[in-house]
Subunit: 322 residues, 2 copies
């Protein structure tokens, strides 16, 4: 049996991951999954549930004592909220990682070094800051320009050092913006990238707060879950000590997103998109990466969509309410 | 009056900095310097002294309440010690920065945003990890391969985010290896770079633990102090949100170091160098940067030595016991 913990397992990506593991996509013997989160959706994936807060050290110590073989750490507040609530952002998005690593290291020590869990951490392309080259390669500096990005960057460095010392065996995945997210808009500044596809497909209005020339880097929720299961069994010696990976994604403009929507759902769907510039969101989005050359991740077998049409079709297949 | 705090003011670079400020090299009105450290040398620079430990939060809060205009944060344990004492390294080299920033932010808030101190933080080229290009440019990734480097990298990211939010006004200086250090060898793996010059000039034997083909990046203690005073009055808006700088230095091999020593002090001095390979040090040094192209720092007016001979002459002028 392989004991698997998904911290942030109540969230959208956590649920996708749990479903993917249940469907047999984790190449480890007999995975037994536990979800940890502050709450869970009604139709939660079939798995044990533990309710708690990652900012509580005692809770993390209790979790660590279960000695999970694989720990997916997905818990975070999103970029918009981390920007408005500075304390909460650093507490949840950074300090909880420190306390988790310390709790796992303690188990490693108690086990005389026998217990060294795989940690898969969802970082983000928000670790980068402009000005950018046309395509960001695998040796480009991190210079985060949001608190969210700064918190993710610190976690990457801590996870890498705990791994280098052999206490855990970690990997950080710099996820593209996940699109199309099912459900409702969230406080992420990137939320509109999903809204302008999802709402029209559901017959609802969506606000487009930026010019349609904005270029960005996307992958579907299905790809996100696939990245995570792939990372869980990757030979981390192949990372050569650089344990944070830029992942594959699809680079396209908002205009190209909208054109893909038109091809799939027609002009009537596109007519639900209402352009209404939001200077605050425009300023944040302006600082985001537009395109990558993720050679390392591709060589390690990570794969994403090759067209935005494919991303929309994935949403329709996996998440569009019937 | 300009209130100046030097955290780590009892150390070698802290003392150099205090002397430099006393000599009128800080372009701020009437600097009043306070040194903070666990202890001070007998011949300490003329300045107020506060004894304490940076790992004590209450101490940092008391310090912050003085509302220093400029805070130099130099306190750290060196790379060798951070590597052997994992807990101590993260506590002193990383968590103390977090608590310092939180204490200063609290003063910023209490002052209704009127108090925003300049913070000058001594980071290190240890934030980098190989493989390297021939010269590391200003957009090369951080991938630290020591705990010391990881701790410095986290501090840079935190300082940058607190600065972006306007709580403090910070800059991180990635110092070259400081050479020739006066005094005794320390626990830094880089200690031999100074020993092989300093000990022979003082008529003593020095061990060379690496091949003389090793290339590295150096600057003198005088340059280090000059970097710090320069950074204290720099217009940080010129940093464009990238608040960690690779500084100028001199790239040379150990053979070139030894040849410069021969030119200045003759073969008799060189004969004091005893090659004795140390695999542990060789492994650490192998992972270190060899050369940089620090265009940004140069454009911002930072300057270092242009020959290793000049570095030795600086040691003789400033620090060689008479």
């Amino acid at each position: 049996m392989t004991k698997v913990l998904i911290i942030g397992g109540g969230g959208m990506v956590g649920q996708k991951l749990a479903h993917r593991i249940a469907a047999g996509h984790l190449s480890l013997a007999n995975p037994d999954v536990t979800l940890f989160d502050m709450g869970f959706p009604e139709n939660s994936a079939d798995a044990s549930q533990i309710t708690g807060n990652v900012t509580d050290m005692a809770t993390l110590e209790t979790l660590a004592a279960h000695r999970f073989d694989v720990v997916f750490h997905l818990a975070a507040i999103v970029s918009g909220e981390a920007e408005t609530d500075f304390d909460k952002g650093w507490a949840i998005n950074m300090m909880s990682m420190w306390h988790l690593l310390e709790a796992l290291r303690n188990q490693h020590t108690l086990s005389d070094g026998m217990y060294t869990p795989r940690i898969v951490f969802t970082s983000s392309i928000a670790v980068f800051g402009g000005p950018y080259p046309d395509k960001i390669d695998d040796t480009f500096l991190c210079a985060p320009q949001t608190s969210y990005g700064a918190q993710k960057a610190c976690c990457e460095v801590m996870l890498s050092d705990f791994s280098r010392k052999g206490f855990v065996d970690g990997i950080s995945l710099r996820l593209p913006t996940i699109c199309v997210r099912p459900g409702k808009p969230n406080l992420a500044a990137s939320s509109f990238f999903s809204s302008i596809i999802r709402e029209p497909l559901n017959g609802q209005e969506a606000i487009l707060p930026v010019p349609d020339t904005v270029r960005h880097w996307h992958a579907s929720p299905r790809s996100a879950a696939r990245f995570l299961t792939h990372a869980a069994t990757l030979d981390t010696s192949l990372l050569n000590g650089r344990r944070a990976l830029n992942l594959p994604g699809l680079s396209c403009t908002v205009a190209e997103q909208i054109e893909a929507l038109r091809q799939i759902a027609g002009q009537a769907a596109v007519d639900h998109i209402v352009p209404r510039k939001d200077p605050a969101i425009m300023r944040i989005v302006e600082g985001w990466p537009r395109n990558f050359e993720p050679d390392r991740a591709r060589a390690l077998g990570f794969e994403a969509e090759s067209s935005f049409k494919e991303i929309i079709e994935t949403y329709i297949a996996d998440d569009l309410p019937r």
